[in-house]
Symmetry: C2
Subunit: 500 residues, 2 copies
Amino acid sequence: MFTFVDPLERAERTAGDRTAFVCGDRSQTFGEFASRCRKVAGALDRLGLDPLDRVALWAPNSDHYAEIYMGVPASGRAVMPLNTRHAVPELQYQLDDAGARILISDFDAEALAPNVERVIGLDEWNSMVDEAPEAELGRGSTSDTMAGLFYTGGTTGASKGVVLTHGNLIANAWHILVATSIQPDDRYLIMAPMFHAAGSVSLLPAIWVGATQVILPAFSPAAALDLIEESRATMTLAVPTMVSAMNELQRAEPRDTSTLRILYYGASPIATEVVRTATRTFPEAEMCHLYGATELAPLTTTLRHHERHLDGDLARSAGQPVVGVDVRVFDDDWNELPPGEVGRVVAKGPNVMKEYWGKPEATAAVLRDGWYDSGDLGYMDEHSNLFLVDRAKDMIISGGENVYCTEVEEALFKHPMVLEATVFGIPHDTWGEAVHAVIVPRGEVTAESIIEHCRQLIAGYKVPRSISFQSEPLPKSGPGKILKRELRAPYWEGHDKMVH
Amino acid sequence: MFTFVDPLERAERTAGDRTAFVCGDRSQTFGEFASRCRKVAGALDRLGLDPLDRVALWAPNSDHYAEIYMGVPASGRAVMPLNTRHAVPELQYQLDDAGARILISDFDAEALAPNVERVIGLDEWNSMVDEAPEAELGRGSTSDTMAGLFYTGGTTGASKGVVLTHGNLIANAWHILVATSIQPDDRYLIMAPMFHAAGSVSLLPAIWVGATQVILPAFSPAAALDLIEESRATMTLAVPTMVSAMNELQRAEPRDTSTLRILYYGASPIATEVVRTATRTFPEAEMCHLYGATELAPLTTTLRHHERHLDGDLARSAGQPVVGVDVRVFDDDWNELPPGEVGRVVAKGPNVMKEYWGKPEATAAVLRDGWYDSGDLGYMDEHSNLFLVDRAKDMIISGGENVYCTEVEEALFKHPMVLEATVFGIPHDTWGEAVHAVIVPRGEVTAESIIEHCRQLIAGYKVPRSISFQSEPLPKSGPGKILKRELRAPYWEGHDKMVH
């Protein structure tokens, strides 16, 4: 029914002279933004791109990113944002797999040139757009037309292209609007990377209602806090590592962040202690936990007013399904499990991806009867509040007992000397796997002290058998998800369970 | 994609033990309400009703009304709410026209018995539901399946049945959720009659998010104000005559209405002075003007924070198109008019009705290329703020000049002695039509004083040439729309322009 064109048209008609985007010294109105999107269409026409051709984009956050992200699908082509943290071989694979026609890049893309018809530098691209005629939008796209191709899988093996249609992303825009109440007078700060859903999720809904978006090109806690103060931002979405970093700096060097009425966080699990600190650090803001998946376009559940639940049963919940998405917990035979039982978290709704690009078997493995299997393990309470316990692939089986890493990590984070922590299984002759933790400490601390601390909080078989300490931050993917695979791999060399 | 079943299921799963409806001494949870809807389905099965059969409902507001309104479409049949103010011949016509199978009635329906297979009293119906098995909902309904049949036309001639599908009403639910931000902790007071969209519009969206609805069986300003205080209502929707009546009483005998955070009004034009008084009377509440049409399921535009615009250009605006509905002003040849020019108000979106029941010509007269012609005349400003000037059929042409009744009425309402007023054209030998006003005064006042007052505010050709006074309230339809037709008819007897 709706496509990317509808939000653009409404914004131009109802808020044409209001500010759409602010990025550094630049700002543009919704009228100017819609005009730029028509020029993006015109530039793609001049390049001879056909409907559904993939346009890859490799760049840091900017207003130009937003123009391309919106304009490419609105012109009938598919946008393909590349992860700026992926290594060259991964990007080469993705460009080849997608058959991308052009790559617009703000980085040195020489190594990727053989993988596309043409590489266009962002500056050159912007000149092409400046000079392009305004072309008509729409081009026969329908709900079912591919709007974007999003490569995921950085943390779990070979990369797959998630095909999201106009209908998928428009459905998600409705879900966001209802779940988060973005209003025309909001100023939404984009601080997460825009190649990831955490950074791009506001684009369609905020444009549709005519709310201003302020873009942070590169995250640092200082830059983010400065921009909240300077732009008087009312909403933002951070990944947990960003929340931690802002907590630390804001307490050391406070800015005026009193305009911030909602702080969203998602894209990876967050420790309750981080939320508790954020509640004290940003006392005016509602804390709102979002859970989603690229394949779900992405919003799936929300826990609103997390700050009210920190001492209650919902402290570690991902919240309830948003209006429009049906979320259930299934067993391996695809039967729904009763409240409290751990199983596969599945979801159904107009936001569920169409397919993995060119991978019918991978698609069939996760989609059945309209349900998408998220690969997450969790349970629900009596009110459909979701509790995630682990990625299915990360669960540790130690001596026949299931150990969910998040529970162990949650215990570790309660130790005052733990700054970062991650947990995974390592080979063990007797138990099959043993629980191992990698910790970045705030200062001097012993493994014994941490193990003793955990014994007070969780069952013996869940307590880490071994701990390694490191001073450098844990390796993370673009959206701040810890790359457990990289840390775990050395332990499993020569062992069978390399599937991990 | 979605049907009536989805909001019911989500509410039962996420808010099963929270309060869904309060009506007098009764209240029920979302779990109980969903169960009742399944029993409504079971009772209809026992009666042998087929999919799409029309179930007419003639009753005042109640929680049972809500069960039937939701349960009938959720079971695959179509609900047909009857206007409690319509006369027996009108209702007979509607029941015959619709081919309704059964009529559930809380009034003496003997005169309607010949027009349906079976009349069931509401008490008898409730017993049948009590004893019915819980039947499965859904029954193969899709977005395009008729969910309800709504007869309109009380004010403009022969009644027509508006066919709204599940998709239409679900789309409207999304529009309401985005436009009005109903939250799970809201208490929404239904005071407008539920046979009209003004009274039923909250049902789907409030159920979907799990918000409580409090139902006022019969409106009086005292009962409404008492219930706002008692239920600590946070939102309500009133028709303009209700707002006026509550203003008067609240100022005379104030209740604690401080919980009311939004006062919506719509269904007929409201005088700015009434909004101004409401702003002083309910100082905690945002004033929000809604404009819609039964054929649009119904929400079309909203003017939020009307109280901020009372002295500005938007004072008399119906606001901007809601997200999801495209609204334009067309000339008679269906070309879009530029801002400021008066023409036909048309709308497009997933909320546009499927058809008028059994009336392909009437349908074709108002639907073209997906656009619905509302029959309203208006113009838009540069930001798509809509200004309604009249019903197309009510516009007066006097001496070749177009006179829009609402502008004249607005002037009349600024006179301190005018309690109610309506304006229409009456035959005139020289000018074709002359502007005539009917006024219910607050006390002693002369026609000369009112005419002189109008001369200060509007052009001479718009000033009423004649005024009649009456002490009884103006005749109104269920939703409080003044029945201009009834007042005008006697003047036009024997004249050609009976099309009025």
